[in-house]
């Protein structure tokens, strides 16, 4: 019953002579929150960019909803939030959303809805540059939600947020998933792992695990994901 929103086969990306992604195979399913975990520099962002279609891939297949990543018809169906908030600092929150709504061809009524979803209704008329870092990334998230995308790709969306807000955001990720979207969230903080339905563990351009948090703990005989990660790294055969 679970549909694969994303199917990746033998994905390789070489950037500037370095093999950043070294042959990845995985799926991201609709209706689930999939966590992409790994230390910084392990290739998480490059992987996410490949799914969104803005990263030129060297080899392999990346299919989103059965179409090759980057296909023109996918552009309104994927919501992508980059690590640094990609919004205009000199516009207000509402002006930013209204602009992107017009580009996406989404009715203006979505603007207030999406501002509400990220809990910024009180700041709607504030200029983005004057907001805190956490608020700015929520503006960026709100833009990604405008077109009600069926695939949400979120690159470290909870960095620098206060714990209460972090919990709220994770709750909304699960709400999007329950409504049928596929949600892929990256993080370098292992303690966020338990909030995910499924985990992809990454290290040096390879996937070292693809399991549920419980399954991962069982398989490695550990109590938390941090230790599971260490166990997997130690077991890894050096290539």
């Amino acid at each position: 019953m679970m549909n694969n929103a994303v199917e990746v086969r033998d994905l390789r990306v070489v950037r500037g002579g370095n093999e950043v992604l070294r042959g990845l195979d995985f799926t991201v399913r609709a209706g689930e929150v999939t966590g992409l975990l790994g230390p910084s520099g392990s290739g998480k962002t490059t992987l996410m960019r490949s799914l969104v279609g803005v990263q030129r891939i060297t080899a392999g297949d990346v299919e989103v909803f059965g179409r090759p990543a980057g296909a023109a018809s996918l552009r309104a169906e994927i919501g992508y939030v980059t690590q640094d908030p990609s919004v205009y600092g000199d516009l207000t929150v509402a002006e930013n959303l209204r602009f992107f709504a017009r580009i996406l061809g989404v009715p203006d009524s979505r603007v207030a809805e999406c501002i509400g979803l990220v809990d910024l209704t009180g700041q709607a008329e504030a200029v983005v540059a004057r907001l805190s870092g956490g608020q700015r990334s929520r503006v960026s998230l709100a833009v990604a939600l405008l077109a009600s995308p069926q695939l949400l790709v979120l690159d470290e969306p909870t960095v620098g947020l206060d714990p209460v807000l972090r919990v709220e955001l994770w709750e909304s990720f699960h709400r999007f998933a329950r409504e049928g979207a596929a949600v892929l969230v990256s993080s370098h903080v292992m303690d966020e792992a338990d909030r995910c339905d499924r985990l992809l563990l990454m290290r040096e351009g390879r996937l070292i695990a693809d399991d549920t948090p419980d399954g991962l703990r069982r398989a490695t005989g550990t109590h938390d994901i941090e230790h599971a990660f260490l166990t997997l790294v130690r077991e890894e055969v050096p290539r």
Partner: protein, 246 residues
């Protein structure tokens, strides 16, 4: 989403951004008037028609230089902040982006030039034989030329500091060779040929023709050359907007 909606959305957004920056707006509108007044004052006590000779060329240069700088810095900001990548990952045509910017800065240049032209014609007694409205048309086309070239070079700069460094490369040679200092036909042959392929030469020619004669045919011809460079600049600019990066 239709193409015009997206173009209008980009134009509106750029205008809102510029409007919010009061200091930039003041600089954009007041600076050309100050420069023109300074030029007028320099020749005030001198015999001859220095202001009439140089004034029109300066009216062509200012919108070009200002819009070149403003555009290369703003589009570079758009590239480095990730908003350009976000837009290109959305269903937006590259042409919408380029036209949106060109229209926004064209409108701004119109306001800027209207003030400068009004000041020169009514307060500083600049002699204009041709149609005063044509001065505005030429100024706007020159401004759009600056925007088109600015969009293009912003692709080759990584920082705003680098973007500003393109001014000596792209703008200053054009100022030197446009006929402002030495009439173009009096330049050494090689420089004259170079001057013939630089777009700003035609912008300045058009402005000087409006100031000195009723020959609108000649003006439109020069403007057509500038417009061709605008189209080429925007086309090259479109090539630098990549939906996928390595």
């Amino acid at each position: 989403m239709s193409t015009t909606t997206a173009t209008v959305a980009v134009t509106t957004r750029v205008l809102t951004q510029v409007r919010r920056d009061h200091r930039t707006v003041a600089m954009l509108l007041v600076m050309p008037c100050v420069v023109m007044t300074l030029l007028w004052w320099m020749f005030e006590d001198l015999p001859g028609d220095g202001f009439d000779r140089l004034g029109p060329a300066l009216l062509a240069l200012i919108p070009f230089i200002v819009m070149f700088l403003v555009t290369s810095v703003t589009t570079l900001r758009e590239r480095t902040s990730g908003t350009l990548e976000r837009l290109l990952a959305m269903p937006m045509g590259k042409v919408d982006f380029l036209f949106g910017y060109a229209i926004a800065f064209g409108l701004f240049a119109a306001a800027q030039s209207a003030l400068a032209v009004a000041l020169c014609v009514w307060l500083l007694d600049l002699t204009i034989v041709g149609n005063v409205w044509m001065l505005l048309v030429v100024a706007v086309v020159d401004a759009i030329l600056g925007t088109a070239l600015g969009l293009f070079v912003s692709a080759f700069a990584r920082t705003e500091f680098q973007a500003v460094q393109f001014m000596p490369v792209v703008v200053i040679p054009q100022i030197l060779l446009c006929g402002l200092f030495v009439p173009r036909e009096a330049l050494p042959r090689v420089l004259e040929v170079i001057s013939d392929v630089l777009p700003l030469s035609y912008g300045v020619d058009a402005m000087q023709t409006v100031a000195a004669s009723h020959d609108t045919g000649e003006v439109w011809l020069d403007l057509a050359v500038v417009a061709a460079y605008v189209v080429a600049g925007l086309a090259l600019g479109a090539l630098t907007l990549r939906r996928q990066t390595p």
